[in-house]
Structure formats: structure tokens, C-alpha cells
């Protein structure tokens, strides 16, 4: 198990280095940040001064060498637009994205496993229909539309919740609820399918023949064996959430990493783009290790 994790860590580190090189040079191909930072009628002198101040007038390889040297000292450089350390900007945003992702994902996992298992156990029953409806909404309704409708109903018409922002726990309800729907719809279907398959196994029939009750059959015997594909899908969804939830962040004014990354790309704030991608990549790398550990816990064959 430790050997497996070690191998994964080395592979991830190499991926991280490759990513850094790729993003550095690709971001430079997008154009000149001075054009976007300064007004359209800025003089050439102003543009040249901006480039000189931020080291953008140096040859590309020299810029890269300087960037790598700074990075070795954990210096991601300064945000071109915000005039402060890029890593500070990114970590501030990540401090909002991480809890949003963790809370949403935890709720999704618990709800999807419970409802998916119950749906599989009683095909065509209440939970099965509920799962189908939510899955359908999650797959077909755009996040944007759901978010706006939720604001109109729960914040403006009913006045139960704030429209947006991050001030109190109540502010989190709508963003989490909107972010919940799509991954829940996906994971609950995987749980249902996987459980259906597991429930038809011989050991389940044996347990039933021995008089074991339904709940232990579902949650003790079957679920563990049905979890491997579920873990894989959870990993995919978690990676998407760790990259930020652009729509939810945009509509609810949630200062997370997704919108920051999009804005930074559009504004050519290279240092913030690089810092955001590196931090996100590290988070995903850590999450992949956790998933590997989860595989090992669930399946001794992987552990050994």
C-alpha cells in the first residue's frame, strides 16, 4: 500500500512539474497583459513601463528561469492586477472553495449512498422515484437556471434565505444546494446500479436465507462491495469541485477559486493563473492519494 502511494506521489510530482512548464508558456501565448490592464488609449510608454515593472519585457526563457528560481523559494510572484502576492490571492479564494467543496461533497456522498442503496433495494419504490427525479433535474437543468430560480423563490419571494454572499451559515444554503444537485444525480445512479448488481450476488441470497435483516444486508454486506466504482466517480466529482464552481461562485458572489481562475485567465494575470493551477493540482493530488487509500481499505486485493 505504501509503495503504491509512494509511486503515485512521484508520478503526481512529475505531472506537477510538467503542468507548471506547460501553463507558464501557454499563458504567455495568450498575449500581452499590458493591453488589458491599461485603458485602450494608453500610450506605448505606459505599456512599456508596465511590462518593465513586471519583468514582462525580458526574453521568455529568462522570465521562466526567474519564475522557477522564485518558485523554489515558494514565491509565486505578484498578481499583475491586484498588486499583491499571487499566492495570497489564491489561498484566500481556496479558503472558500475548500469548505464549499467538502460540505457539498459530504452531503452528496451520504445522500447518494443512502438513497441509492434504498432505491436499489426497492426498485420502483419511493426512493427509486425520488432518485430518478433528482437525477433527471441534475442532468438536464443548467446550474445557472437552478441558481437564479432558487434565488427568486427562496430569497426574493419567500425571504427565507439571503440572495448571495458569504456572511452567515444561511448564506451557504443556496450555493451548497445548487452545487449538490448535479454530482448527487450522477453518484446516486452509480450507487443504485452498483448496488443492484451486488444485491443479486450469491452471498446476499445466503444472508437472506440465514434471516439477516434488510438494513444490515444493504449497509453492512452489500455496500462495501458496491463502493469501488462509486469511489471512482466521487473522485471525479471531487476534482471538479476542487477546481471551483464557476457558475455558483459567479451567481452567489462566492469568492472561490473557479471564478478567480477564469477572471485571471481572461485578464492575463499570469502569476495568479499559475498559482491557482498549482494549488488546485496539489489539492487534486492529495485527493487522489486519499482515494487510493480508500480503495485499499475497501478491497484487500489492492492493499496487497
Amino acid at each position: 500500500m505504501f509503495k503504491l502511494i509512494g509511486q503515485r506521489a512521484i508520478a503526481s510530482l512529475l505531472s506537477l512539474l510538467g503542468l507548471m512548464v506547460l501553463v507558464f508558456f501557454l499563458s504567455r501565448l495568450t498575449g500581452d497583459p499590458a493591453v488589458l490592464f491599461l485603458p485602450i488609449d494608453a500610450t506605448e510608454e505606459m505599456k512599456a513601463n508596465f511590462r518593465a515593472l513586471h519583468g514582462l519585457d525580458a526574453p521568455l526563457l529568462e522570465q521562466f528561469a526567474r519564475y522557477v528560481l522564485d518558485l523554489l523559494q515558494f514565491d509565486f510572484g505578484e498578481s499583475l492586477r491586484k498588486a499583491r502576492p499571487a499566492i495570497d490571492v489564491v489561498m484566500e479564494a481556496y479558503a472558500w472553495t475548500l469548505p464549499l467543496a467538502l460540505i457539498t461533497l459530504s452531503l452528496v456522498i451520504v445522500a447518494a449512498i443512502v438513497l441509492g442503496s434504498l432505491a436499489a433495494f426497492n426498485v420502483g419504490g419511493f426512493f427509486d422515484r425520488l432518485v430518478s427525479i433528482v437525477s433527471l433535474i441534475g442532468a438536464s437543468a443548467p446550474d445557472f437556471w437552478i441558481a437564479i430560480v432558487a434565488i427568486v423563490i427562496f430569497a426574493i419571494n419567500l425571504g427565507w434565505l439571503p440572495t448571495s454572499g458569504v456572511g452567515t451559515p444561511l448564506h451557504w444554503v443556496l450555493p451548497v444546494a445548487v452545487l449538490f444537485i448535479r454530482p448527487f444525480g450522477l453518484i446516486v445512479q452509480v450507487v443504485r446500479g452498483s448496488m443492484l448488481s451486488a444485491l443479486s450476488a450469491a452471498y446476499v441470497k445466503t444472508a437472506r436465507a440465514k434471516g439477516v435483516k434488510n438494513l444490515p444486508i444493504i449497509f453492512v454486506h452489500t455496500l462495501r462491495n458496491a463502493m469501488l466504482p462509486v469511489i471512482t466517480v466521487i473522485g471525479d466529482q471531487a476534482a471538479a469541485m476542487l477546481n471551483g464552481a464557476v457558475i455558483v461562485e459567479t451567481i452567489f458572489g462566492f469568492p472561490g477559486i473557479g471564478k478567480l481562475m477564469i477572471d485571471s485567465i481572461l485578464q492575463r494575470d499570469f502569476n495568479v493563473v499559475l498559482a491557482a493551477i498549482m494549488v488546485t493540482a496539489i489539492a487534486i493530488f492529495i485527493m487522489n492519494i486519499l482515494i487510493d487509500i480508500a480503495y485499499g481499505v475497501l478491497d484487500p486485493r489492492i492493499r496487497n
Partner: protein, 501 residues
């Protein structure tokens, strides 16, 4: 516990939850469309920064009344005088203090401009002095002479674009701006909010608003919804689709002009008949009240009607597709290849419904016989087409753009858009260059007359471009406020102008 019990319980619990609402006192909440990257006073001419800082935290020597007819008004400078030889003398208002407690003096004015022109930072307001060298001489604590080379007749107006900071302000972007304005910044939580609190020691009249909290939401429906839900009091820049409440939603000219820039050097648009045909092909009125909000005005100049020298005698080209076809036929008969492709280049999210407007323009052009296509691009790519050097193309490109001039004088527009050396100009005409040079150097009525003549010349004589619309801004304002947004709201939002009913 049944599902029914759970739902009823949730309903009862939810009715006890009261979200944070806007305050019912003299504190207000403003929800803006764009977060501030910086709160640097020398960047206050950038609209998103200006709405928070300009005349609230940081003040300028002079102030332009773009809403009424007061023209250029005193602010930190009580008076100014042309001393000849390009030198203007400004007398500062006595007894003004900054929010750090220090007194305003002439050295602060000099330092503020030193920062603007410093090569240790990139201040946006430097662009207004591109070809002008300024020399500051401190005469006494409250008097400063400013010599401009070459002489700058609108120097007092240009002083309305530079905010004054204390001499101690470093030559780098600051995160805690210090100004002479009626408010000081008491909180800035990046990504979330900025709070301005009224200064008891302000030198002028005390505004009614005691505290202003700025929030940032990029979605117009959310901004409008926040005012409707009582979470905010002012939401600038909402869209026509969500502006559905006459009691709270205001429409006003916002100083933006939408136009199609024509490259007069390209074929087939080098022929004036083709340019006239482009203008005649567009049914401008059809856009208003459909894809553009009611109140949008047809443009006859690059600047809004509140600008000096506005020419009331000009009228928009009539929609006349038959005339357009005839003009094209005449041009074709004289050997102009009118079948050459014309690509309309427009920027996504430039203004609400920009795609619909662009598509309609293309369709109208093609209906009279042009070979027009549309390319929607992001802001960075748009800039490549908009500013010189223009990329080569087969045929020509018409760049759909939006230009803002709330500064009161055409000097901020006409050189860039029409002079042969102008960065976004499609014109190379000696008479235009001459009129721009003379108008820029003139003062008073002569200046207004020359700008007026230039407006007529580019619109009627050379048909330099396709002027389309003076755009409308929409803002939602809480009914508890006594505040009417105006053309100035595009660039600044003076809290001192806000009262309570």
C-alpha cells in the same frame, strides 16, 4: 418521523430565519458588478474603482458637472487662473485635511502628479497627459502653478481626473487609500466587501449617508434581486430584462456610444458611397425597445449630448434600403468591388445583447447586397482589431465598439477615434486632423464651435463611420433612498448625492 413531519418542521424553522437585510438607518449597501482589484486613488478613472473612490475617498482639484449645466466646478481648488504661457494657477481651499489628519497643501498636489507620472507604478490617469509635460511650482501652501508644454487649454478640466493624495503616499499602489473626501475606507475584505465610513472631520458639508458597504455580484439578476429583497440599496448596471419595477428602476444615458469603426483605407469602404450605403442599410429605431432598452438614443457623434460642442443640427441617417442598394450599384458601376467580404468584429459581453445587435446588423447589411459576416471575440482579441496596427484582411472589417466619454470634452475622444494618428482611427483626412488640432488648442466658444464643425464634418461630409446608439444605463435604487442615477453614475457614485426619503 414521516417525510411530511420533516417538511413541516423545515418550513416552520425556515420562517424564523431572517437573512441579513439592508439597514433601515442611514447606512447603505451598494452592489456593484465588478470587484475592485485595487483601491488606488491614481486609478480612479477606471470606472469600477471610480465608483467607490472618486469624490468619496479621494477628491480632485476640479469637478465637472456632467448632469447639469454648471460646467467645471471647484472642488479642492477654489479658483484657477490662466497666467499665460501655458501656466495655470490653482488656489486650494483652506482648512482641508486628509483622513490621516494631515492638512492639504500645494506640495500634496505636486506629489499626486509625481505619482501619476512615476515609472515605479502604472497609473491610469497618466494617459490624459500623453503629449503634455507638466511642471509644478509650489507658490505657497495653498497656491500651485502648473505649466503645461505645449499649452493645454483644458488643463482645469484635466485636473478633474487626478485625485489628490498626501505627500507621504509611497510610489506604489496603496491598499489603504488616504484622501480628503467625506469618507474613509474602514474595511476591505478582498472578494467580499468594502466599507466606507463618513468622516466627521470632512472639510465640506456632511453627507447624509453614514456608512456605505460595497458588495460585488457579477450577475445583473442577482444585483436587482438584492435590492428587491432589501439586501442592497443601489444596484447599478442591471439589464433591461430584470428592470421590471418602475418604482425602483431608473434608465438614463450612460455616456457610452456604440458605433461601427470603418477603415476608410480598405476596399470597398474607401468609397464614400459604400460608407453611406452601410449607414442607410440600418434600421436603427428597430433596435430600441427590442434588443436595446427604451430610452436608447440614436447617435450622431462619438460623444454624448452633454459634451462640449455637441451639434444639434445633425440627424441620424434615415433607414433607406433602396438608397443603400442604389449607392452600392453606383459604386459597383465605377469599378468598386462591393462583393468583397465585410467582417463585423464584435466583443462578447461588450453590452447587453451585443450578439443580437451584431447579428441584426449583419442581416441588414446583407439584405441590401453586402457580403457581411460576424465574428464574436473576447476582449483581448477584440483589442487586436480595434487598435492599430490593424490586421490585414480580404475586404475589410467593421469593428463594433463602445466608447465612453463622460469627461465633458470631445478631446478625450476625437483624436483617438478620428485623427490620422489616432490609435483607433479609420480616418486619414487632413481637414479632420486640422480641426482636431485647432479645437484642442482653442478655448471657450471657439473651442465649442470647432468641435461642432468637426462633428458635422465626420458625420455628414466624410461619413467616417457608422454611429449607432447612445446607450442607456439601468440602475435599481431602493425606494427608501432619495437618489436618481445619471450619466455620471457610469464613472462615479458620489455618496454625498444620496439622501433618504
Amino acid at each position: 418521523m414521516t417525510i411530511k413531519h420533516i417538511l413541516v418542521g423545515a418550513l416552520v424553522a425556515s420562517t424564523t430565519m431572517v437573512p441579513a437585510m439592508a439597514q433601515d438607518n442611514t447606512d447603505i449597501t451598494v452592489v456593484l458588478s465588478e470587484e475592485l482589484d485595487l483601491v488606488e486613488p491614481c486609478m480612479a478613472t477606471r470606472s469600477n474603482i471610480g465608483r467607490v473612490i472618486l469624490q468619496n475617498i479621494s477628491e480632485t482639484l476640479t469637478e465637472l458637472d456632467v448632469r447639469g449645466d454648471k460646467g467645471l466646478m471647484p472642488r479642492l481648488a477654489d479658483s484657477w487662473e490662466d497666467k499665460g504661457d501655458g501656466t495655470w494657477q490653482f488656489k486650494l481651499h483652506p482648512g482641508v485635511t486628509f483622513s490621516d489628519g494631515t492638512a492639504l497643501d500645494a506640495a500634496d498636489v505636486k506629489h499626486s502628479f509625481d505619482r501619476v507620472f512615476s515609472d515605479q507604478m502604472t497609473c491610469e490617469s497618466a494617459r490624459y497627459f500623453a503629449d503634455t509635460a507638466l511642471t509644478f511650482t509650489v507658490v505657497d501652501d495653498l497656491t500651485v502653478d502648473v505649466k503645461a508644454e505645449p499649452a493645454q487649454p483644458i488643463l482645469p478640466l484635466l485636473m478633474s481626473l487626478v485625485t489628490i493624495v498626501p505627500s507621504e503616499t509611497p510610489m506604489e499602489f496603496v491598499r489603504q487609500p488616504v484622501g480628503t473626501g467625506p469618507y474613509e475606507m474602514t474595511e476591505w475584505t478582498a472578494g467580499q466587501q468594502i466599507v466606507l465610513t463618513r468622516r466627521d472631520s470632512y472639510w465640506g458639508a456632511q453627507p447624509e449617508v453614514t456608512k456605505a458597504t460595497y458588495l460585488f455580484r457579477s450577475e445583473p439578476a442577482v444585483r436587482a434581486g438584492m435590492v428587491a429583497a432589501g439586501e442592497a440599496d443601489i444596484a447599478p448596471q442591471i439589464t433591461a430584462e430584470v428592470a421590471d419595477n418602475k418604482a425602483t428602476d431608473f434608465s438614463y444615458l450612460n455616456s457610452e456610444t456604440v458605433y461601427l469603426r470603418i477603415d476608410n483605407a480598405d476596399a470597398p469602404t474607401s468609397d464614400i458611397r459604400v460608407r453611406k450605403a452601410l449607414n442607410a442599410a440600418i434600421e436603427r429605431e428597430a433596435f430600441i425597445g427590442t434588443v436595446l432598452p427604451d430610452g436608447t438614443e440614436l447617435a450622431v457623434a462619438m460623444t454624448p449630448p452633454t459634451t462640449l460642442g455637441w451639434n444639434p443640427d445633425l440627424s441620424p441617417p434615415a433607414y433607406d434600403p433602396e438608397l443603400a442598394k442604389t449607392l452600392l450599384a453606383e459604386a459597383k458601376a465605377d469599378g468598386v468591388d462591393v462583393s468583397l467580404p465585410i467582417e463585423i468584429v464584435a466583443r462578447t459581453e461588450n453590452f447587453p445583447n451585443v450578439t443580437e445587435v451584431s447579428e441584426a446588423l449583419v442581416q441588414m447589411f446583407n439584405e441590401v447586397g453586402f457580403n457581411a459576416t460576424l465574428r464574436m471575440v473576447e476582449v483581448a482579441e477584440h483589442e487586436q482589431y480595434y487598435s492599430k496596427p490593424y490586421p490585414e484582411s480580404e475586404g475589410t472589417r467593421l469593428v463594433l465598439a463602445q466608447h465612453d466619454n463622460s469627461r465633458g470634452d470631445p478631446a478625450f475622444s476625437m483624436f483617438f477615434k478620428y485623427a490620422s494618428q489616432g490609435t483607433q482611427s479609420g480616418v486619414n483626412d487632413p481637414k479632420v486632423d486640422d480641426l482636431i488640432a485647432r479645437a484642442s488648442a482653442a478655448t471657450g466658444e471657439e473651442r465649442a464651435a470647432l468641435w461642432s464643425e468637426l462633428f458635422a464634418y465626420v458625420h455628414d461630409e466624410i461619413v467616417a463611420d457608422v454611429l449607432l446608439f447612445h446607450m442607456v444605463g439601468l440602475s435599481r435604487v431602493s425606494e427608501r433612498l432619495d437618489f436618481t442615477p445619471t450619466i455620471a453614475t457610469n464613472q462615479q457614485l458620489q455618496l454625498a448625492e444620496i439622501g433618504f426619503k
